[in-house]
């Protein structure tokens, strides 16, 4: 019997855009395959030992809420997080959680707020919010049966820029992505996956969910191999309906611009 231990960091504080759905997706897709799952809610002041967990998740919050966790994240859990990242632990960080792992956040007024600095990227605050549905294409998810496209919704005013050792999560097909400039979305370093996409992200992108689970299971069990398939017809219908709608409306908008 396999067991997956999932750590949800600051669940009652960083939970802005249905982030709990990501935990639910990881949990359900294990249960449906007879894999045991334990969820550990780890918050302010709680002891945090990454060795106890196979996947670590951190979601997004409003500025006010990010302010609340910052001190605990940087000074109490920061060293352990950095060590776990270098040790190939699987992480998923969304939106505000993504930004917090980076080096700093520079406000619109030019004030530089120090963030964790676990990964080499940084975020600059901007006037305009980047809001809307997103499609990105992830090369690492491509297979004979899957086109690598994942969908979600973004809502951020920070523009994130990646340093040289960090690769993006995917190429933006529709949407803004990291900064609305370079055409990329998210960040990957070792087994850390970061993205601005919520929606929630994992439930309607089962290929990505399974990819993370397989990574974690193979990290833990040398003989694990691959996950058996599930019936994903609802999930794929949700994903495909977004893709079809966006591509159609995108075409119409392009036509409008021509005429």
């Amino acid at each position: 019997m396999y067991t997956i231990e999932i750590c949800h960091l600051y669940p009652e504080i960083l939970n802005l855009y249905g982030d709990k759905g990501n935990i639910t997706a990881l949990k359900k897709r294990c249960e449906w395959r007879g894999i045991d799952v334990k969820i550990h809610n780890i918050s302010l002041e709680d002891d945090f030992n990454p060795d106890n967990y196979d996947i670590i998740f951190i979601g997004g919050g409003q500025d006010y809420e990010q302010e609340i966790v910052k001190d605990d994240l940087l000074h109490k859990k920061g060293a352990a997080i950095k060590e776990a990242i270098e040790g190939n632990k699987v992480f998923l960080a969304i939106c505000g959680g993504y930004q917090l792992l980076g080096k700093y956040y520079k406000t619109k007024e030019g004030k530089e707020l120090e963030f964790l600095g676990a990964l080499d990227f940084w975020t600059n605050g901007d006037e305009k919010r980047m809001i809307g549905n997103v499609i990105i294409e992830c090369d690492f998810l491509k297979s004979e049966s899957f086109d690598g496209k994942i969908v979600g919704f973004e809502n951020h005013s920070g523009k994130t820029y990646l340093g040289k050792d960090i690769t993006p999560l995917g190429k933006v097909i529709i949407g803004y992505g990291n900064n609305g400039e370079d055409g990329y979305e998210g960040a990957v370093y070792k087994n850390v996956y970061c993205s601005y996409l919520h929606g929630s992200l994992l439930p309607k992108n089962p290929a990505f969910t399974d990819f993370l689970l397989e990574k974690a299971l193979n990290n833990k069990y040398k003989d694990f191999g691959t996950l058996p398939n599930l019936d994903d017809s609802f999930e794929m219908a949700a994903r495909n309906s977004v893709i079809n709608r966006l591509i159609t409306s995108n075409k119409i908008n392009k036509l409008r611009k021509i005429f």
Partner: protein
């Protein structure tokens, strides 16, 4: 007469005329749109709202949840007191919608017999409308997360309401004492405040199940960021909060519910303390959240100095309006429509289902993501659909529809609901027929649409069951 003044008068009259014509045309064209005539009027005669509202006492109702119901209860109170008023209809609660409502209510010279204007205003539009007109009484119901892509952030909305109200010290505030966000307005401003709230853990005395407390908003003190402690919770983050560090705590309520005598699925009997007198009252709407709406309306009537017996009569005879649980008879069965727009409201509806004893309940969710619904549907993941597993032994069946039907299906699947019990039906007519067919005689088919889905659905039901237009 001064030419300039004459021209101004003329311009006002012409604008009102054009506005009134546009209102009729929009209705005739079945556009249902209530903001367009106001938009045109403001263009033709900037600041027209100030002009049309001069001499009226302005009451504004804002907040995330319950503003429509609260506004309609206050309307009922005004009727009980035979006070003439102007009001805007739900769905027309942005600035242009309010202008439309005034143009419709005044005569061609811009005059009215009304003495009060009762305005429901979207919390994000409150500061905009205050550039034009300032309320005498402002009622703030609560702050919850709502359609985040439209409003930016919860704390930003709160700050903006506070900042705007701070500019006008004469506004009399009516605030929810049980909401730490809402009550902070009273703490931070110098305005006169009337607080309303539920005094203690009234839920223990009712049949409603005590779910594990799981609030998503306002867990931490707004002033010092310590975690609040609670003497009791009512729902969401509402209740007897207090900060152990800085001492910020629920203010004592001037108007409060001290006891729930009986909670039914159509009404609640309560005891209410109003100016140190405890009275029995019936809130003629189901659910805890409607007690808050009734208390808010009662607090408003107290600020206006209206006799309490008329208020009690109004809240005891009030019937719900557009989409807030509307019952439509359909061949010996019923269609029940309940508008859903944010996690807290949605959770309340799901709790209501769990309390029903119907077996084989038929429930439909119609989820759209148009601008008026909120483009972002991630809020569905903050709704506790897992609760529905509590009634799974009664074999309910679920239908999903709307632009985001598939996302809703995924949400139900991950809540643990058997996928064989979830059917995607995009066509509304087919949905209504199928759901009704499977509903037992004299029972209800429950349909929960988001805002624009409600409008679309009502269009169909209007033809099918002869419904009134919602603005009538």
């Amino acid at each position: 007469m001064n030419m300039k003044l004459l021209w101004h008068e003329l311009r006002l009259i012409i604008t009102i005329l054009i506005g009134k014509i546009l209102i009729v045309l929009c209705r005739f064209a079945k556009l249902g749109g209530t903001s367009f005539p106001g938009k045109v009027a403001e263009k033709l005669c900037p600041g027209i709202l100030r002009e049309l509202s001069s001499g009226l006492k302005l009451i504004m109702v804002t907040g995330t949840n319950g503003k429509t119901t609260t506004t309609r209860i206050i309307e009922k109170i005004l009727q009980e007191n035979k006070i003439q008023y102007i009001t805007n209809k739900s769905g027309a609660n942005l600035v242009n919608g309010v202008i439309t409502a005034f143009i419709e209510a005044v005569d061609f010279l811009g005059k009215t017999d009304a003495s009060i204007a009762l305005i429901e205003i979207d919390e994000a539009a409150f500061s905009k409308i205050c550039n034009l007109i300032v309320p005498h009484v402002l009622i703030v119901t609560n702050f919850f997360r709502d359609q985040l892509d439209r409003y930016g952030e919860l704390y930003g909305t709160l700050k903006l309401v506070k900042k705007t109200a701070a500019l006008f010290e004469n506004i009399k505030l009516v605030l929810n004492a049980d909401d730490s966000l809402c009550a902070s307005i009273g703490k931070d401003l110098k305005n006169e405040v009337t607080y309303y709230g539920i005094d203690k853990d009234v839920k223990h005395s009712t049949s409603s199940n005590n779910e594990a407390y799981d609030s998503k908003d306002a867990v931490f003190c707004l002033y010092c960021q310590s975690k609040y402690e609670y003497d009791y919770h009512t729902y969401g983050h509402l209740g007897g909060f207090r900060c152990p560090n800085c001492g910020y705590a629920r203010p004592s309520a001037d108007i409060s519910c001290t006891e729930i005598d009986e909670m039914k699925d159509t009404h609640t009997d309560i005891k209410m303390r109003v100016s140190n007198q405890v009275i029995k009252a019936r809130v003629n709407l189901p659910g805890l959240y409607n007690i808050y709406n009734a208390l808010a309306a009662t607090a408003c009537s107290e600020v206006l100095g209206l006799p309490i017996q008329n208020t009690v009569k109004a809240i005891g005879s009030f019937e719900s309006g557009f989409g807030r649980m509307e019952t439509i008879p359909a061949d010996g069965k019923f269609l029940k429509l309940i508008l859903v727009k944010n996690p807290t409201g949605f959770d309340q509806v799901l709790s209501y289902f769990i309390e029903q004893n119907d077996s084989n309940m038929q429930i439909a969710f119609i989820i759209n993501d148009n601008a008026a619904d909120g483009r972002d549907i991630s809020w569905l993941w903050d709704v506790e659909f897992e609760k529905l597993l509590n009634i799974s032994h009664k074999e309910p069946e679920f239908y999903v529809s709307g632009l985001r039907a598939e996302d809703m299906a995924v949400r139900l699947k991950y809540a643990g609901i058997d996928t064989n019990k979830i059917t995607i039906i995009k066509d509304y007519e087919e949905l209504v027929n199928k759901g009704l067919l499977r509903t037992q005689q004299s029972k209800s088919f429950y349909i929960l649409p988001t805002y624009t889905a409600m409008l679309e659905l009502r269009k169909l039901l209007k033809v099918k069951y002869n419904l009134h237009d919602f603005w009538e």
